[in-house]
């Protein structure tokens, strides 16, 4: 008989090993799924995980895709630590793109160097505004932020659809549901010639460093760590749960909004009905893959970015449906959660000791 025995302390080795274990198990299951679909599993895994990054352009694309994931996941991981479950990052991303992108459309013939910084500010405000609603509803009315933040995602997506089909549609755009292209002054500069790596990628690295400092050096970072691990102790010493809810939802919202703005002012260059392949949801997995730690999130973001690139390539070269990406992401999260048990418990074989039976 197999049973779980609690460890006195979390296993430090397992904290680092369990994500690796989860990735390995996902690869094995992925190989099995590929062979069921009539593909050679080794070819398919190679196409999915190696081929996209075996050249320098591929690696630059990895950074482009990882940028929004990392920025969003840093914000989400702070919330998850404090048991604030913001799962509406996709909506906050959309609102950031609408607010910041709206400015670029309003000044569509501007050449001002202030346009881009102003878009950053508005993008962050848009995302934070959309995060503030679940924060208000949770702190003031006790409404579950999981459901409200998710519902608001649908609202934000529909609002963007309304804008690009209606008032913000490009008047010279042959009736396509797209906005005007942003002016050059409203586009993120590419920081490495010949690639699509933009200023947002550099910002993502800054966010990781800032997140690390916040978590390890600041008072609120200390509170976040305590609230997550021992909520009762935190209440006892007077940490205010409401403050955590506001802080994490505003931060998560602002970062998601910025990530959304970077997408529309970077790789996309205009507003259109679909501006994200689910970055806001995938970032949830990134946060867990990175063990809610900023450095871990950086690695997690790169790995999840690879599943997007691999999915696109597998679609083109192997004819696999794009949905394989989502499937992989879900399986990886399952294994991550399952492997987590190893950090808190020891797996024992055999029947419980006599002492246990007597109790």
């Amino acid at each position: 008989m197999v049973r779980l025995e609690p460890r006195r302390q979390h296993s430090q080795a397992m904290v680092y090993l369990s994500p690796v274990l989860a990735i390995l198990m996902t690869l094995i299951v992925g190989g099995i799924i590929f062979s069921f679909m009539g593909k050679n599993p080794f070819d398919a895994l190679y196409t999915f995980f190696i081929l996209p990054i075996n050249n320098s352009y591929g690696i630059s694309e990895l950074f482009v895709k990882a940028t929004p994931l990392v920025i969003i996941a840093i914000g989400l991981s702070m919330g998850f630590r404090a048991n604030v479950w913001n799962i509406g990052a996709e909506g906050q991303l959309t609102m950031g793109a609408i607010f910041g992108g709206g400015l670029a459309l309003y000044f569509y013939d501007s050449e001002s160097m202030f346009l881009l910084p102003a878009m950053f500010v508005l993008g962050a405000i848009g995302g934070a505004f959309w995060g503030a609603i679940p924060a208000l509803l949770r702190t003031r009315f006790n409404a579950n932020e999981i459901l409200t933040s998710l519902m608001l995602t649908y609202v934000a997506t529909l609002f963007l659809s309304f804008l690009v089909h209606g008032p913000w549609r490009n008047p010279e755009g042959f009736n396509f549901p797209e906005s005007r292209p942003f002016p050059d002054a409203g586009l993120l500069p590419v920081i490495y010639d010949g690639t699509r790596v933009h200023l947002g990628t550099a910002f993502a690295v800054l966010v990781v460093i800032a997140g690390w400092i916040l978590l390890s050096k600041s008072v609120i970072g200390f509170q976040l760590r305590v609230v997550g691990k021992a909520p009762q102790a935190a209440r006892h010493v007077g940490f205010r749960q409401k403050r955590m809810v506001w802080f994490t939802l505003l931060l998560g919202g602002a970062l998601s909004g910025l990530a959304g703005l970077f997408e529309v002012a970077g790789p996309i260059g205009q507003l259109q009905p679909a501006i994200s392949p689910g970055y806001g949801f995938t970032a949830i997995i990134v946060a867990f893959l990175g063990r809610l730690h900023p450095l871990g999130v950086l690695f997690g973001g790169l790995i999840m970015a690879l599943t997007y690139l691999g999915g696109e390539l597998a679609q083109i070269t192997l004819g696999l449906p794009n949905a394989v990406t989502g499937l992989f992401q879900g399986i990886l999260l399952f294994f991550l959660l399952a492997c987590d048990v190893l950090t808190k418990y020891r797996v024992r074989f055999g029947t419980p000791a006599a002492k246990g039976e007597a109790a």
């Binding site: 449906p321 999260l333 399952a338």
Partner: protein, 306 residues
């Protein structure tokens, strides 16, 4: 009056999947388990039901497949959260992410397939009664089943020993364990009932509501079903009322255009989601009521002391 009968008919079809899924989740939550993966289980149920119906030609086989698929999905959740004691919120999210991907993958071969929608009941004379005949006696059997199930769940919870045990497990798992009930086993069963009902709700969408498969066709209904359980403060009678109220809100956009309301369609489509937020706020702000009705152990892992 010309508009009333079609309106009621569409409300019934829009409410049924919400009612089926939330009835299942109600039992799951009553046992102390919060499964946020309803959306994923519904999607996998929808594609399983559709794929089997389209390949075999039998809707009954399709519905059975959807129930089994929903149960298997909930079994993954139960194993992770009940046996491995993983975080229920995170695992529920994983179940939805997985379900979206899995259903889209399987469904990619079934886009554009056409099937016969589930046949409606036809009782001579009764179904032909003007006005109310079709509403009361002309629905497909899943509609009747959804009503029967919510009544049965109400009876089970309030009038049977099994219902008492289930509530005890959800309200105080340590006491229930001390009396000698197997908390984990009961929670497994309650979670799988939730999975079966979510699978059934998915099958209703792909076999009756819109007899076809489309990626992400649940469009957030699984999440609305979760909100409905809170709205109903875990009481089956209010669940029935809530599901029909949401059904009404979600079909308003279909009828608004013909009624001459000129609001952009996107704003009409926002209504069910906005209504969910508003309703959650109104219900949740009464903290005493939530505390009184919510299962006390909801979302908490249970590990029997050895």
């Amino acid at each position: 009056m010309d508009w009333l009968i079609p309106l009621i008919l569409t409300v019934i079809t829009a409410s049924t999947p919400l009612l089926l899924a939330s009835t299942g989740e109600l039992i799951t939550e009553k046992s102390g388990v919060l499964n946020l993966g309803v959306e994923g289980m519904m999607l996998v149920g929808a594609i399983s039901g559709f794929a089997v119906t389209a390949s075999s030609g039998s809707a009954i086989l399709g519905i059975l497949a959807a129930i089994i698929a929903g149960m298997l999905m909930s079994l993954i959740f139960a194993f992770l959260t009940l046996t491995l004691m993983a975080n229920q919120v995170a695992t529920g999210l994983a179940l939805t992410i997985f379900g979206v991907g899995f259903s889209a993958l399987v469904g990619s071969g079934f886009v554009g397939f056409a099937i016969e929608p589930l046949p409606g009941l036809h009782i001579p004379v009764l179904t032909d009664i003007p006005l109310v005949g079709e509403i009361l006696f002309g629905q497909d059997f899943l509609v009747y089943l959804s009503i029967v199930m919510v009544i049965a769940v109400g009876f089970f919870l309030s009038r049977t020993r099994g219902g008492l045990i289930l509530k005890a497990v959800g309200d105080s798992h340590h006491s229930a364990h001390a009396i000698g009930y197997s908390v984990i086993k009961i929670r497994y069963m309650a979670t799988m009932f939730g999975g079966a009902m979510a699978g059934l709700a998915g099958a209703y969408l792909s076999l009756s509501y819109t007899p076809m498969w489309a990626e992400n066709m649940t469009a957030g209904r699984g999440w609305i079903a979760l909100a409905l359980v809170v709205f109903a403060t875990w009481r089956p009678g209010r669940l029935l009322a809530g599901a029909y109220m949401f059904g009404l809100i979600s079909v308003l956009q279909l009828h608004a255009q013909s009624a001459g309301v000129h609001v952009p369609s996107q704003f009409m489509s926002m209504l069910p989601y906005l209504a969910t937020v508003i309703v959650l706020v109104i219900i949740s702000s009464d903290r005493a009521k939530i505390r009184l009705n919510a299962p006390a152990c909801i979302g908490q892992a249970f590990r029997p002391a050895q």
